[in-house]
Amino acid sequence: MELVKDIITGVFFFIGSMSIIIGACGLIKLPDVFSRIHAAGMIDTGGTAFFLLGMIVQSGWSLITVKLVLIGVFIFFTSPVTSHVTANLAREKKLTPVGKKIGKVL
């Protein structure tokens, strides 16, 4: 039983590690602020979700699980707000994104 738990946790940790490393590479590689926000979103959703799932599998039913779920809820509520505010301010400061505009934009 312990072995099955360890294997599941290992798989989740592997996916989470891939997710945050690819996100960090994208943060370096992508061309401008608006594209980099997508890479940061990948770290905030994919990495967090899989690392927390792995730790939840490891801890079983206890108060620790509740605290892990609370960390997930806080990050999932606050991450889009910071992303949106950063993008909004960058637009207000007249930074033009790379790429094409479809139709009229605000």
Binding site: I20, A24, C25, L27, T48, S59, I64, K67, T82, V85
Partner: protein
């Protein structure tokens, strides 16, 4: 297993630090610092499990909230030039 995950967190933290140093605009740096905060939250939780003391999770919760408030405060300071009421 926890050690491998901690090493992955460290590698991506170093990659994000490169972006903080290179970053052309202020927004790049703020975005990268926010991501670094998320990775530090995960690192604190993982270190708690690695050393067998899950009480570290309380610190992780507080770090997640402070990270959000700090980012919003820096963005507000950058946008309006003051942290309190906007000067008329």
């Amino acid at each position: 297993m926890y050690l491998a995950a901690l090493i992955a967190c460290g590698i991506s933290g170093i990659l994000i630090l490169v972006r903080i140093i290179l970053g052309k605009t202020t927004f790049d740096r703020i975005l990268a610092i926010n991501s670094l905060g998320t990775i530090i939250v995960l690192g604190i939780a993982l270190h708690g499990f690695y050393s067998g003391r899950p009480e570290f999770l309380d610190i992780a919760i507080v770090y997640a909230l402070i990270n959000f408030i700090g980012t919003i405060a820096v963005l507000k300071l950058f946008s309006t030039g003051s942290l309190g009421d906007i000067q008329k």
